[in-house]
């Protein structure tokens, strides 16, 4: 897991992969906005979390504008550049026997 995070921090994500993920996020957001409940949730998120109802119409464009350099910068700032805690959750007996992992 650490290796994959370090890889993202070390090298910009490939264009095809970035496009794929953007398509997925965009599609997911549109799917949710098909229902009145989904529209309400998107509006509520814009008002309560982002502080402006108008963000609901802007955030998908912002998502499309994200570059590989943006991704790398954020990974470096929040994932590799910040304190982290790792928890390993194993069964007691197996852990004592050293057989887990």
């Amino acid at each position: 897991m650490r290796q994959e995070i370090d890889r993202l921090a070390g090298k910009p994500v490939a264009a095809a992969e970035l496009a794929k993920v953007k398509t997925q996020l965009l599609t997911q957001a549109l799917l949710e906005r098909q229902t009145p409940l989904g529209k309400g949730m998107a509006l509520g998120d814009a008002i309560l979390i982002q502080g402006d109802a108008r963000r609901v119409n802007q955030e998908l464009d912002d998502l499309q504008a994200v570059t590989a350099a943006d991704v790398q910068r954020v990974v470096r700032k929040y994932l590799t550049g910040a304190p982290a805690v790792t928890i390993e959750y194993t069964q007691a007996a197996a852990a004592q026997g050293g057989a887990a992992k």
Binding site: T23, Q24, T27, L31, Q34, I47, A53, R54
Partner: protein, 486 residues
């Protein structure tokens, strides 16, 4: 709750300056006038190879669901191979002549959607919902898995193991087992009597050649429809359909006729299935019912909603609210192309099973003697119509509704008439439906659970009660027990 306090202060800290504060309401604003769901009449055009292209345009969001429907499914399972249609449809997306299973998954992911396939009564389907720019590529993928599945032996084994594991879990539930056994008892050897997902034994018997044979027989353009729902106009849809499916050739042989033989209900009812140590009893009853195209279909749906659909249904009021015997009880009117299944089911503590059986039968019978008053009728119709309207919200829902009509041989424009017809049902229609179709004596009854706790109680009402150990039950046998299996 410390966490929520922290969250609240965080929100408060973010608020100043940037928030557009909506006018706070002391009480909810008054509801507006009801806005009926308006569904445009579907566009239909048949391609040269017989494929029906069906389009319902819905603008607003750049999304389109494409669903390829084969008008054959679970009813086509050979008697010894229950679950074959579902297994075949599941395997479509697990490899084609030019793509492996992981390559198909990757391709679907890159388009932002999920490629889904499966089978039900009278239909097998492959579907995907994508943004409009990805539609042509999505159709290419749907066409590839529909026309050129590889049915690799390793993928068959994997799918078989997964399905058998799932069945072993679900058939260990008293409610699931009782329901499937009641349906089998109601239909006997008729195809509607078998388990759509098959049984561990039928799946173990299934060979690759069976899958290939079903696919070759039934997956053909003159037995298929391609449904588009969403942001696409009919002209573009037909052009895309032609590009993706135009080369799909119609076989020279005639399409195999579909017929579903009539129900042959078993005389053995009620039946108790002994599941030693089961924590609860599953109580189920079933009987054959009307087809989707029947003129009293809508009266039947309203009657079913009054009887057993939703929290305020008569069954739930009596069994859950008044008597506290169960958290849930429901009835279902599953009307298909050649008839259908009416069923009632619940789970209760073992000792309460005889009482639940009696209440269910009483409530079914009462539908014929006690028609709903105006309030009950209005409330249950609102629940039914509201549920139907909510089932059309997404393009995927809309395509699914069209697929169901196509599978059941109903005029697609019916979709726009459903709400009006539901609304027009009267109390006397409901009573007439119940009297014509719900003779309680026709229900086949199965109770599955810890039999010593309920068998004596059931025998008081049914001295001839048959108790069968779970290990002797064979859902593939028309008579339900291994001894009578061919």
């Amino acid at each position: 709750m410390k966490a929520s306090v922290t969250l609240m202060s965080l929100l408060a800290a973010l608020a100043p300056g940037s928030v557009v504060v909506a006018q706070p309401y002391e009480t909810p604003p008054p509801a507006g006038a009801p806005r009926p769901a308006v569904i445009p009449a579907p566009f239909v055009q048949t391609l040269g190879n017989g494929l029906r292209v069906i389009v319902v345009e819905r603008k607003g969001l750049p999304l389109v669901t494409a669903e390829l429907v084969i008008r054959s499914g679970t009813e086509a399972d050979p008697a010894a191979l229950s679950g074959l249609a579902d297994l075949t449809a599941t395997l479509l997306t697990k490899g084609t002549a030019r793509r492996t299973a992981p390559q198909i998954a990757d391709a679907a992911e890159a388009l932002g959607g999920q490629l889904e396939s499966g089978a039900g009564w009278h239909r097998s389907f492959v579907s995907m919902t994508v943004t409009r720019p990805q539609l042509a590529a999505a159709l290419d993928l749907i066409a590839d898995v529909t026309m050129h599945p590889r049915f690799a032996a390793a993928e068959l084994e994997r799918a078989r193991r997964l399905a058998i594991d799932g069945l072993n879990v679900s058939l260990a539930q008293p409610g699931t087992l009782a329901h499937l056994a009641a349906v089998r008892a109601a239909f006997g050897a008729s195809p509607y009597g078998h388990s759509a997902q098959g049984t561990p034994a039928s799946l173990a018997r299934t060979r690759r050649a069976d899958v290939v044979t079903l696919h070759t027989r039934l997956y053909r353009p003159d037995n298929a429809a391609l449904i588009f729902a969403g942001d696409i106009d009919p002209k573009d849809a037909v052009a895309l359909a032609q590009a993706a499916f135009g080369r799909w050739t119609r076989p020279a042989t005639a399409l195999p006729a579909t017929s579903v033989s009539a129900a042959q209900p078993t005389a053995r009812s009620p039946l108790a299935i002994a599941m030693a140590g089961a924590g609860q009893a599953g109580v189920a009853m079933a009987m054959p019912t009307i087809a989707r195209a029947a003129p009293d279909y809508y009266a039947g749906q309203v009657a079913n909603t009054i009887l057993g659909s939703g929290y305020s249904s008569r069954l739930n009021q009596e069994i859950r609210i008044r008597r506290g015997l169960s958290y849930g009880v429901q009835s279902q009117l599953d009307a298909r192309r050649a008839g259908g299944t009416f069923s009632v089911s619940s789970q209760t503590k073992n000792a309460s099973a005889p009482e639940v059986v009696a209440v269910m039968l009483d409530e079914v019978a009462r539908m014929g003697t006690a028609p709903p008053d105006a309030d009950e009728l209005a409330a249950r119709k609102l629940a039914l119509i509201g549920g139907f309207s909510r089932s059309l919200e997404t393009t995927e829902d809309l395509a699914g509704r069209l697929a169901a009509l196509e599978a059941n041989g109903v005029d697609l424009a019916e979709l726009g008439r459903v709400i009006g017809k539901m609304d027009a049902v009267t109390a006397s229609d409901v009573q007439a439906f119940a009297n014509a179709h719900w003779r309680a004596g026709d229900l086949r009854i199965v109770v599955a659970g810890d039999a010593p706790q309920f068998a004596d109680g059931l025998r008081k009402a049914y001295p001839a009660l048959l108790v069968i150990p779970q290990t002797e039950v064979d859902l593939d046998a028309p008579g339900l027990t291994k001894a009578t299996a061919k």
